[in-house]
Chain length 377, copies 2
């Protein structure tokens, strides 16, 4: 749920709803937990999860590196105090002019997953290091990865060999086990696949040095998730199992796991109604919905913890929806959400675990509603 600092801020400042409040002390604690759970890995914070300048500055000052998806994110990381050697351009889908701009800004580490992308990097960022992303199955992840990023492991060594022939440094391999991944075994399978690429690359005369293990570290929503420590141990064991005493340099890219639980959204109940006198379910409408920052409720994938001013009163499941005139702007309907029967128009609610993938998913002005405000405290 929300941290005490967030609850105090809401009580004292009474900010206008809807808004996200981010607790920087909680971000610091996350960074420290992840760093100490994975002491041999460099932490590259996934900027896309929450690019709030205060979050980026804090993480830069703590020694974090940054995984970026665009030139704009590279510029934000630099503005926050990161040096270019601590920034990776991790999007496998880049315009060549954006690769060139990143190179001008000093970036020398790029993700690829096919020969064409390696050719772009070779032309626009000559001599840079590249890692090739491989496909994983993503089983056990709550926010499923599609096949959108990566190539099959058997193709990755060819892509890296081609990159080397174009004058790039064939640095290594990356994977992503799927966001909000709670199956610790999925890292073992992905690390085994990555080791296969290291071996095939070695047979092609390449000496890979880097394994980018991506993100997937979960936030705690309604259900408990394994601790950072448990992730660290599972990953360390898998690395030793597959790489023996030749474990490469490793990177992790937490986004949701870094900031998800550091934020909470304050929202207001706009209306409570029933569709007929004998409707078994109430409809509860909030002043935030799918287009205002809660895009990850798509297909009801992420189920946020919600606290209300009426907690303790008897609860019944309700259908929870956003404030726009879009019929798709419904948060939980297939699986109605239990909320107090006494909840009424004007009541405030706190939606926990919303520090990641909320502000930036927010629509620019859908139905005239302004984007989600954010307060870093």
């Amino acid at each position: 749920m929300a941290t005490q600092r967030i609850l105090d801020y809401i009580a004292d400042r009474r900010p206008q709803t809807p808004c996200l409040v981010i607790d920087l002390e909680a971000v610091r604690a996350s960074f420290e937990a992840l760093s100490s759970a994975l002491p041999d890995s460099a932490v590259y914070y996934a900027v896309k999860a929450n690019p709030d300048p205060a979050v980026l500055s804090l993480l830069a000052s703590l020694g974090s590196s940054f995984d970026t998806a665009s030139v704009a994110e590279i510029e934000m990381a630099l503005a926050a105090g990161a040096t270019p050697n601590r920034i990776s351009f991790g999007n496998t889908i880049k315009k060549e002019r954006d690769v060139a701009r990143a190179y001008e800004l000093g970036i020398r580490l790029f993700a690829v997953d096919c020969e064409d992308e390696a050719q772009k990097v070779a032309r626009a960022a000559p001599g840079s290091a590249v890692f090739c992303r491989i496909l994983t199955d993503g089983e056990g992840a709550e926010w499923p990865l599609s096949r959108k990023f990566g190539c099959v492991p058997a193709m990755a060594s060819e892509v890296l060999a081609r990159a080397a022939s174009l004058g790039l440094e064939a640095a290594g391999v990356s994977f992503h086990v799927g966001s909000q991944q709670t199956d610790l075994g999925s890292w073992d399978r992905a690390i085994a696949d990555a080791k296969g690429v290291f071996d095939r690359a070695s047979a092609l005369g390449l000496d890979l040095r880097l394994l980018n293990m991506g993100g997937g570290f979960p936030a705690r929503y309604l259900m408990d998730v394994p601790s950072a420590q448990a992730y660290g141990e599972a990953i360390s064991e898998a690395l030793r199992r597959h790489f023996g005493n030749r474990v490469p340099e490793t990177i992790v890219e937490p986004g949701r796991g870094m900031v998800g639980n550091a934020g909470a959204i304050l929202a207001e109940v706009v209306l409570v109604s029933r569709k007929s006198p004998d409707d078994p379910f109430r409809w509860v409408y909030l002043d935030i919905g799918k287009f205002g920052g809660l895009a990850e409720t798509m297909d009801e994938a992420i189920r946020y913890p919600i606290s209300t001013v009426r907690d303790g009163d008897p609860c019944e499941p309700c259908i929870l929806a956003g404030p726009t005139c879009d019929s798709a702007d419904v948060l939980y309907e297939k699986q109605p959400y239990p909320l107090p029967l006494t909840l009424k128009t004007g009541d405030q609610v706190v939606i926990g675990g919303t520090g990641a993938y909320t502000t930036t998913y927010s629509a620019v002005a859908f139905n005239g509603f302004e984007p989600l405000r954010s307060h870093a405290i």
Copy 2:
């Protein structure tokens, strides 16, 4: 597809991609077609479909009224030259302070679908007119309506009677047959339901005067849709069938049907790749995706027509995706999209029928990508 004026603009100006280009002459033609197909109905343009100031000003000058979803949209309609008596606050989910603000701005027509909402309007906009939205089944619509808006018809007369007892004018009934509705018969069923509410209201001593028939008028995407004239005839017949010679004042609220085909998005191919040497499908990545304005590809609901600089070359189905690091940012995968085999990185494509529900759905800065630019010509 795109109009000739849009294609000429793209050829002459070569605007930076991605961007939406809106042809105001096509908007004018839509308004005229809808107005002449429904000569006895007032046209309330659904601002949420595309609130570009140039579109609003044009429609205001042509005599259109406006259906709005928020105070911001009311202000935009007023700024475009609409008088308050030509603006309806059509969202059934309103904060009371927003109702009050609308009332201050001169708005006197509000949507409700339950007693609580009627009470808000009675307190914050005393004496105003309200219409009660009823649920329809939405069958035949490509963008399905949920049960989010409206109450069952049997409840609507009670809500209107309550509104009257609170000093409001119980003006009438509204429905929405579902966006992109291609089944002309759905208006008949909804009008029959509305007539039932008129009758029950009459038995309660209320003399309803207004029937708001909402939107649902389609844009032409890949498949042909009935003409505005066919919609007009079906609706006029249904009105006569159910209301006889006592047809009430009617309103329609076209959004998609007004501007959908007046706009086209210019985009660029960022990458074409395969996931393995024997992958049967190419992946084609554009510089616009689900979070940059093409939100309506959610569940592959809306299938846009796409033209490329290689049209005429042999085609094969491909998986089409956006440029962000989000694995959900895939446009067409369940049903791959046929595109020329010769299509390559850097090629431009034109995505037709994108005048509605694109710019405002665009995320504010997801992955650092800026919101969709719009050029009204």
